[in-house]
Symmetry: C2
Subunit: 347 residues, 2 copies
């Protein structure tokens, strides 16, 4: 076995650098593309560092939160002047870690760059199943997939025949929640922001119905139309006015899994939610969800989801951008709803 200190490669490494904190809608110029030539990628002697070549990068709404200078229990903000980080699929180039070796495919936190040196393997999963698209490990087989699985089954605790509403329903998580709801025998309606997405929900993903929220001036009335009996389960991805309208339409003992609130991330202050008293009238449970809590269930999740993918019973739509130079636009596109399905960047 060669000394690990000898394991080093000289490469050029294109990167996406975070410029500075914002409290507005993000712009491409908030990220800078740089290319560092003759970078020596090495595993520090005696360390458990891993050097990876990044293959696919994931654009996720939470990344906007890291562009604000606010720390939370689950997010540390980006550091201005350093590389953007996010979920990605990568191949191990060099490894000082006994559990990873050259050629291994992995998914987890990487930099938005061609090569990353990973100082920690916490939350890094080895990819064992490659008969499915590798990019799926940024989506259905990665963080969003486990989020949908844990959020729907563990937090919402669905029962057959229940009424399920999913917002941002064609997104990375929403499209899966809707399909899981159908597998469970629920009635499921999704909201999205274009007519094309609405069609996708109804045809490709098998939602019972769907609507374009941008064409609905009165969301309370809209929800009453789609759910005359009310909503048992709301999978919350958007927040704001949609949440307030949903609260008026929940059924007794309903459940709301809060995965995210993308409509609020670009506002200096979130909108006020006025209808929380309805959770007393209806004895509703609202529960926040962070995927990290469910990492121990990842292999159980894979056992569940892989057969459905192989049999074509669960479908997954990706929106793939080509190249790191298009990554900033792809990320920003999430917030205007430009992406159709899971937004991925192929490096």
């Amino acid at each position: 076995m060669a000394d690990v200190s000898e394991k080093q490669a000289v490469v050029s490494n294109k990167q996406v650098i975070f410029k500075d904190y914002i409290s507005r809608f993000p712009e491409e110029s908030d990220m800078i593309i740089t290319c560092n030539e003759n970078v020596k990628l090495k595993v520090e002697a005696g360390s458990k560092d891993i050097v990876v070549k990044n293959l696919y990068l994931s654009c996720d709404p939470y990344m906007r939160l890291l562009m604000s200078n606010q720390r939370s229990e689950i997010f540390a903000p980006y550091t201005p002047g350093t590389v953007i980080t996010g979920f990605g699929v990568a191949k191990v180039v060099e490894s000082g870690h006994p559990e990873f070796e050259q050629g291994d495919l992995v998914w987890g936190m990487v930099g938005w760059e061609e090569y990353s040196v990973l100082k920690s393997t916490d939350g890094l999963f080895k990819i064992h199943h490659t008969d499915v698209p590798l990019s799926y490990y940024t989506g259905i087989l990665g963080m969003p997939g486990l989020t949908a699985y844990a959020g729907f089954y563990e937090v919402c605790k669905p029962k057959k025949g229940e009424y399920v509403f999913v917002s941002a329903a064609s997104g990375a998580v929403g499209q899966l929640v809707g399909q899981f709801a159908k597998l469970m025998g629920c009635y499921v309606v999704g909201s999205a922001g274009t007519q094309d997405k609405v069609e996708l929900l109804k045809t490709k993903f098998g939602f019972d119905d769907a609507f374009n929220y941008k064409e609905e001036p009165d969301l309370n009335a809209t929800l009453k139309r789609y759910f005359p009996e009310g909503i048992d389960i709301y999978f919350e991805n958007v927040g704001g006015k949609m949440l307030d309208a949903v609260l008026l339409n929940m059924r007794v003992h309903g459940r709301i899994a809060v995965c995210g609130m993308i409509s609020q991330y670009n506002r200096p202050q979130p909108e006020g939610i006025h209808n929380l008293m309805t959770i007393v009238y209806k004895r509703v449970r609202i529960e926040g969800l962070a995927v990290f809590d469910y990492y121990p269930q990842y292999s159980k999740f894979l056992d569940f989801i892989l057969p459905y993918i192989r049999e074509g019973k669960v479908k997954y739509v990706e929106d793939i951008a080509e190249g790191l130079e298009n990554a900033p636009a792809a990320l920003i596109g999430l917030f205007s709803g430009r992406n159709v399905g899971k937004q991925v960047v192929v490096v």
Copy 2:
């Protein structure tokens, strides 16, 4: 056995009549005291009606909601021109019901009047233990007691050593939640609206600490001061700005039991809650609570609470108003915090 149709008494029956719907702070003049002379109280032949003489009436915050013309899953609004209803303790005068007989003591829904004819015995509990004050069946041994018990133990699922915050902490429910938290080995802080109530919390009820929210201009800072480690459990009685501040101070996997939101009941529209995204960061569960769901546990609750009362280990403070003519002022006093402890009216 005499024919039930003969069972009738002629009495005078003082009543508190609900005048009309309001969307502002209630006033005494929203209720009218009337006295009907020569009222024949009778059990309708063949019915299961019960005639009761009311002894104690309960003033509860939810009653304000019934003064607005808004129906919810658990509340039907009052009918203008008819008698106010609420929880009360009463003695059976005549009964057509096989399970109740003359002289029985009961608690449940009655009219704000000297005598009520009860057409239904749903939610009417017979009182078997009279070695404790009868008025307790409007409070610690009635709806508020069961609410505190179910809300704290069933909804909040407390663990020893957790940090518990209770708002409206000297009220009918709050004073019990604080004491239950101490029994469980939690650290508990309460908020109230006067210095006297704050003292009561710390001395009589054994709260670890307490503060007067009216003297705290920045509730977020206040909570950070009382809970430097954050809040595991919030028992929500007030809503509005307090809830928004609490959300910023919850700990990971914290729980919020929403019992009521008294600060919002007199507003045309509730205040907006802005900090809900924190429930994702902290994976917080918020759950609405209605006592009716826990009625099947009432006898289990009595077995739990009666020994504590008899041994003086759980205390209960009541604020007793004398006479039906003082009932409207007593009810309204809840919303300015005039009452110290559970507000009761002795008829």
